[in-house]
């Protein structure tokens, strides 16, 4: 009897758009599942194989820590991570300045900066490592450059966002006083973005410790080289030791970063 108006959360257009997304996702999944080449026997076998793997890893071969230079490899990994982070920050600052639209006014240059940032993040650190191994030859130099170039995207993006969010008051004051561009950057922008900068430097260093532990698989130095050798020689007990070492430095790095972050921010 009464003219009832039913409340609907979404307009028909919105519902159609959502339905289309769901439909696409489901059909993509069905297509993928039906065409991807998976051998079901291997999947059933997996738990047994994993169990076998772990029994071979036990007991852990602690003796090889000093014998096989794993200690040196660990130190090298940490150095690659730290130096790579320094390189990344050094390279990320100009790119961030280029892509922050309140500093560089030209949209074309902004897009160039953003393109560099996206490409850096898109190419995985292992792929960067492959490229730099081709350029510098195997070893820590290639690894450091790979870590550095991989991190530009992350650091540059966050730094550009921090630069875009600064309070314009001090900058206008400096500009009104006739300060040159370098002074505006150093005295106007830097003090405001410094906490964000150190925060992201720490955060990236933590990530880079993880990343630098595997780039050795393609020959770019660090403990990954030892892991690769041990894997190829089927020395599973040594593999277990190396995995334990990687796990430990990752945890230590995380704890260190948390402590430093608490004390500076």
């Amino acid at each position: 009897m009464t003219d009832t108006m039913t409340w609907e959360r979404f307009t028909p257009g919105q519902r159609l758009a959502r339905f289309t997304v769901y439909l696409c996702v489901v059909s993509l999944l069905v297509f993928s599942l039906s065409t991807v080449e998976i051998i079901p026997e291997f999947l059933y076998d997996a738990p047994y194989q994993l169990q076998d793997l772990f029994t071979r890893m036990w007991p852990i071969d602690f003796a090889s820590y000093t014998q096989e230079n794993i200690h040196e490899a660990l130190i090298e990994t940490l150095n690659i991570a730290s130096l790579g982070t320094v390189l990344a920050l050094f390279l990320a600052v100009p790119v961030a300045l280029l892509s922050a639209n309140n500093i560089t006014k030209s949209p074309v240059l902004n897009w160039c900066g953003k393109f560099i940032l996206v490409s850096s993040r898109t190419v995985n650190s292992l792929v960067w490592a492959i490229l730099f191994v081709a350029i510098f030859g195997p070893g820590a130099l290639a690894g450091t450059f790979a870590i550095g170039f991989r991190s530009i995207g992350f650091c540059g993006k966050l730094l550009a966002e921090a630069l875009e969010e600064v309070d314009q008051g001090p900058i206008e004051a400096l500009r009104a006083a006739g300060a040159p561009t370098v002074s505006i950057l150093l005295k106007g922008y830097w003090p405001q973005v410094a906490p964000a900068f150190w925060g992201l430097a720490l955060f990236r260093w933590d990530i880079n410790v993880r990343e630098s532990s595997v780039i050795g698989l393609v020959g770019a130095g660090g403990i990954g080289v030892a892991l690769d050798t041990a894997l190829n020689l089927f020395r599973w007990q040594q593999v277990a030791l190396i995995l334990l070492c990687i796990f430990s430095i990752v945890i230590v790095a995380e704890v260190v970063v948390t402590k430093i972050r608490q004390s500076i921010i």
């Binding site: 996702v25 991807v36 051998i39 793997l53 150095n79 730290s82 995985n124 450091t144 532990s213 698989l217």
Partner: protein, 262 residues
């Protein structure tokens, strides 16, 4: 009139800051030595880099059938891994939320999430290649682990931030547990969840291009093979198509987020 405050430079660096920069400089110097970097090697490298770029250009798209086939496999790995990874991380994330579950449920769930996050994906990929053999299955399993570690954590945090008032209201009305989840919890976190899911799909797509390097399927294997055979022009073609693929998926995820956020 002439107080101390006027004479002092307003921008004087503190001793602590200067000391910090000095320590950093010393460390860089030490590390450069420890890693055996020399100027000669760097200059040689630049020469090699020029040769390398010279061989990469122009990119060689002759074997485009192989390239497209591998890209499709990469996308398939990412899609399946995202679907299962997100699917598994929903209940695990919910179990890990301290405001919904008792301690004896959150602890195991948090442990699972921590284990999934503990290692670099490549290490998981190696282990899975040993367990299930070469091929996309190992890559899919790796990325499922990765997704659980990432989404599970974020999802648990998102649930911990929700308002408990709707939950209490629905509980007071005597609703069973599943209704509480569906009508009080999920609506509050749905938008963020879509954000996490699209982000994770992007991340999985990026990583699925990499797992192939250790033999876990996708385009990474072809990339590594091209590198080892010095097929640098094909390598350039692969890299360009990876970058194009990921930029495309970023555009797409912005579109999808816009559909769900209004």
């Amino acid at each position: 009139m002439t107080s101390d405050a006027q004479r002092k430079s307003p921008f004087k660096a503190s001793i602590k800051t200067r000391l910090g920069w000095l320590v950093l400089a010393c460390y860089v110097f030490y590390a450069l030595n420890a890693l055996d970097f020399t100027w000669v090697r760097f200059i040689n490298g630049l020469g090699n880099g020029a040769d390398f770029l010279g061989e990469m250009i122009p990119p060689n798209f002759e074997r485009w059938k192989l390239l497209v086939g591998n890209l499709i496999e990469t996308i398939e790995i990412a899609v399946i891994a995202s679907a299962f990874g997100i699917g598994f991380s929903l209940p695990i994330g919910m179990c890990a939320a301290r405001n919904l579950m008792p301690d004896w449920v959150t602890w195991p769930a948090r442990t699972v999430i921590a284990v999934c996050r503990s290692f670099h994906p490549v290490i998981f990929a190696i282990l899975f290649v040993k367990a299930v053999g070469f091929g996309p299955l190992a890559g899919i399993l790796t990325l499922i682990f990765l997704s659980i570690g990432f989404i599970g954590k974020l999802f648990a945090e998102a649930i911990e931030e929700i308002s408990l008032k709707p939950v209490e209201a629905i509980r007071a009305a005597g609703a069973p547990f599943m209704s509480v989840i569906v009508f009080a919890v999920l609506p509050q976190v749905f938008n963020r969840f879509i954000g996490f899911a699209t982000y994770q799909f992007d991340a999985n797509l990026r990583n699925s291009t990499m797992v192939g390097i250790v033999g876990a399927g996708g385009i990474g294997g072809t990339l590594f093979a091209a590198f080892q055979r010095f097929d640098y022009d094909f390598l350039a073609a692969i890299l360009m198509s990876i970058i194009a693929l990921i930029m495309l998926s970023e555009l797409l995820s912005v579109k999808i987020k816009a559909i769900f956020n209004d």
